[in-house]
Amino acid sequence: MNVSYNWLNEYIDLEGIEPARLAELMTSGGIEIDSVPARNQGVSKVVVGYVKAREKHPDADKLSVCTVDAGLGEDLQIVCGAANVAAGQKVPVALVGAKLPGGVQIKRAKLRGVESQGMICSARELGINDKLLPKEQQEGILVLPDDLEIGRDIVNVLGLDDHVLELDLTPNRSDCLSMLGVAYEASALTGRPLRLPDPAADLIVSAEKTSDYVKVGITAKEQCPHYAARYIKGVKIGPSPLWLQNRLIAAGIRPISNVVDITNYVMLEYGQPLHAFDASKVAGGRIEVRLAKEGETMVTLDGQQRKLEPHMLVVADAEKPIALAGVMGGLDSEVTGDTVDIILESARFAGATVRAASRQLGLRSEASARFEKEVDPARVIPALDRAAGLICRIAGGLVTEGIAEAGSAEAEPARIAISLDRINRYLGTSLSSLEIKTIWSRLAFEASETEPDSWIVTVPTRRPGVTRDVDLIEEVARLHGYDNILATPIEGPTTTGGLTKPQAIRRELRATLTRAGLHEAISYSITFPQRAALFPQLSGAGEGIRPIPLLMPMSEDRSVLRTTLLPSLLEAVVYNKARKTHDVGLFEIANVYHTAEEVLTKLPGEKPRLAFVLTGNRRKASWNGEAEPYDFYDAKGILEAVFERLGLTDAIAYEAAQPEHFHPGRTAAVRLAAGGESLLLGYVGQLHPDLQREFEIGDAFVAEIELAPVYEHAASRIEYRALPRFPAVERDLAVVVGRSVTAGELVSAVREAAGELLESVRVFDVYTGERIGPDKKSVALALVYRHADRTLTDEEVTAANDRALAKLEQSFGAELRK
């Protein structure tokens, strides 16, 4: 809503409150005002001039030489380039020494040899948004009404000595979609009285009865609680007076013709949209407000043929729809230059109905914006009278007696009980009863004191947003000033804050992963279907899990929710590689979204996961060493560090696995043993070379694991073990086995066979080579034996070691390497 400061001044005396100050006051009161542009963009010494004669320029086809009376006593000779300049016109004349917007200065000049003592201006040259002018005024010079006094300052004539308050309204303050509403607000904030117009002041009523000309009825009562019309005979359609045009332009509305302009003017003034029909085009003198019929169509004012649907509300005559209620009028019944009698409509259409229609048709208008937020029931009739009166005054015509009306204007104003104590307890203020009463009075809310310091407040229907005691408290707070509310500490028992276990674990994961040199990524949860199809074992595609599609995605690229994290990280690797970052270590902790439902009937599973990717070098080539490329064991080592931090090392097992899109020989399934079960957490491994090629990246080592079981089973309790009092005995065992035997198998076999005395076993060397044969490898294990309560004898250690060796020989055909 754009509000002319001068116009507002008609309803409330703003003497001494500059536009900028008013904007500040309104903003601190809750009506945000972004800017207060001056209407005058730098015009001075421009006056109304009269073109006495126009002659062709002797040396230029497109120029004319005009003799202009600008009220200086002496006529001016002005060369003008506009095609529409003509003798007998009143025009804006920039005198020598005049200034125009954009820093233009007018000087005496010679144009093609002819002296010019000024300039005749177009609207644009005067800084007026000419899109808001009638078409004929957009091209060439601005032609002014004939009755203007010669020599008058154009700033005054065009109402440029004004400022515009640009209101940025929140949805609860639709009351300020009207000048009167803004005036009420300004009055509440300043305490100054209002000067409200008398809506019926200008009405000239004839003896004829409205009911003889038009009857109205409502079929769709829910969508239209109230419809009223006046009949005005004998209007003369023409341009509006300048003052009216100026005000519309200041508000950003284009003047069209007197009747239409008046409906817009009153809409701005009262917030009540109005519509004028050419009475001769309304068949049967009957207006019916009803829902559109299946298959009905109409042509709206903008010339578009509209298909109507049964949820849309229309204003119809005896035969057909003549307006899309609250959205736009029909072309057929439009007021034109030939119109003589009009039916003027003022009605209350339901907000939701208007919104649905305007959305579906993509038609938003000043009217629909107001209806959508519900108009004030108490203003339907005053606005009708006000507009009818102005039409009488400006466009001539007589109003017939009586209003054609259906439905009811009645609306129960909200009555809210509230007490001083409640207000002060809610806000933490110590306002007095008198202060509260002053606020009710400034708001022009009627308050009756039911008992000391308690009131029943009657809220006028112009403020539909105020329905509860907290709404009244907000009114008090904003008029008292938010700045005047103190900052207090919360009273009552103290509480202890803290992280939940998953939150604490997530922080630990981040700490561990960043210590390992990885950078945390946050990538988009919405991806595209082909990406979501990668890594089926992680995405759950194998078990019927499907990516969830959005109903209305913004693009195909972002159309489904991701079911795995790794594809996002691979995209990040590609992104980094394109920017010459080849050594990439990224991790992400985020949810994936899993459902087996084709159409969601309940919320999907949101599974928290950790994923990371390593590619390029762990350490760059340096003066003291070769580059060290990342390998599988870096990825696995990071997971090991993570599980160590979470006390899960002994519960985790890695098994060779071949999930899709992973390197079949370099991938492990990560399992967590918990409660007698072995849960698959995810995978760690190298990407399949085919996928690496597809993404055009080098060897990439990745992992993605499920976090929910980790959250559940992580042991934060540290179980201290007393330091050993007796020495350990260390024995090495190097065996030659087949290549396919895994270290994991050997270690668990040793653990099982060596018995309780074995404290630890560790692989310290793996050798393959000619010396031991092509299909063989040598694995060296370091075994540590210890007894908690005594020193071990050589015999018992040897016995345990022999058992371990025997087991390896038996199970894997191992040979002791000498």
Partner: protein, 344 residues
């Protein structure tokens, strides 16, 4: 004999004074002091001396031995010192060459800001609550006093999945879930961080996915002045004790009264600069007293309890804090960007 000893001393000291290396020194030690050395040889003639002369000469001989030994020891030490110095010289390295640092990763700037805010509120006695990103229309809108045809729904275009399920547009649904879970208990003090989604075209300041942190306090006598006190405490911990706040009336369907909160511009200290558009204030928060309907949906009786809520955009705070020019940097995982946030 005495003369011979004196001559021997003279000769030995003379020779020793010219020694240049440890090998020669050893040779001379053997030559003079060894078992077959010259001193021993001279002393063999002691037997021929009288009983009176013997102690006198013996003393002289000991003096000569001591003198020679002292010089040898002195020389020896000097040679060892030189040798050590030589070795250390040879071992000298260029300490200006780069070290072998373990690589340092980084926490995402949005995580850093979130954790910082979490920690401040944990210190003020808040628990951290979380909720699903895929939400029902009920929790995301209706229970927050945004019925289906509410005009304020225009303010946030949403990613719907079905008519009833959508990606949450705000972290506020967590408030409803947390209230319902609390089962009417007070005081409830939580903050709710998380991802949210809106159908916004991406540009330098908008992203269809972003992060919010909301706070909620419900108790028997929570006042708007408590909200102000809480926010002031928060911003002073976050930005420093000199920072002030300013509340401006605003509108949110789920709070009444509602306010937008500005803080003193960190860039200029409130004097006015480009970042704060010359106002001295920067908007960072929305807040208000919890709407009675929202309390009811959360299972509280608005006659018995009141509450306040506030919410902020994590991206906005991070953009301001680090003076980042484009919100999209947060989601592109560019390591040149991420690695800048590797400090405490």
């Amino acid at each position: 004999m005495k003369e011979r000893l004196e001559a021997l001393r003279q000769e030995a000291l003379e020779q020793l004074s010219q020694v240049a290396d440890a090998g020669r020194l050893n040779e001379l030690r053997i030559q003079y002091l060894g078992k077959k050395g010259q001193l021993t040889e001279v002393l063999r003639g002691m037997g021929a001396l009288s009983a009176e002369e013997r102690p006198v000469i013996g003393q002289v001989a000991n003096e000569v031995r001591a003198a020679i030994e002292a010089v040898i020891a002195q020389k020896q030490e000097a040679f060892e010192r030189e040798e050590t110095a030589r070795r250390l010289q040879a071992e000298t390295i260029d300490v200006t060459l780069p070290g072998k640092a373990p690589s340092v990763g980084s926490i995402h700037p949005l995580t850093k800001v979130t954790q910082e805010i979490e920690d401040i509120f944990i210190g003020m006695g808040y628990q951290i609550a979380e909720g699903p990103e895929v939400e029902t229309d009920f929790f995301n809108f209706e229970a927050l006093n945004l019925p289906k045809d509410h005009p304020a729904r225009d303010m946030q275009d949403s990613f719907y999945i079905t008519d009833e399920i959508l990606l949450r547009t705000q972290t506020s649904p967590i408030q409803i879930r947390a209230m319902q879970q609390a089962g009417g208990k007070t005081p409830l003090k939580i903050i709710c961080p998380g991802k949210v989604y809106r159908r916004d075209d991406d540009d330098a300041t908008h992203s269809f996915m972003f992060h919010q942190i909301e706070g909620l306090v419900v108790g028997p006598n929570i006042r708007m002045s408590d909200l102000k006190g809480t926010l002031l405490q928060f911003v002073q911990k976050m930005y420093g004790p000199q920072v002030q706040i300013r509340l401006r009336p605003s509108f949110f369907p789920f709070t009444e009264p509602s306010a937008e909160v500005d803080v003193t511009c960190a860039q200029c200290g409130g004097h006015g600069c480009r970042m704060c558009k010359q106002t001295g204030w920067v908007e960072i928060l929305g807040c208000g007293m919890v709407h009675p309907k929202v309390l009811e949906y959360g299972g509280y009786d608005p006659k018995e309890v009141s509450g306040f809520a506030f919410g902020m955009g994590v991206e906005r705070i991070a953009l301001l804090k680090y003076e980042i020019d484009d919100i999209r940097h947060f989601y592109y995982s560019d390591q040149r960007f991420l690695s800048q946030f590797n400090r405490m």
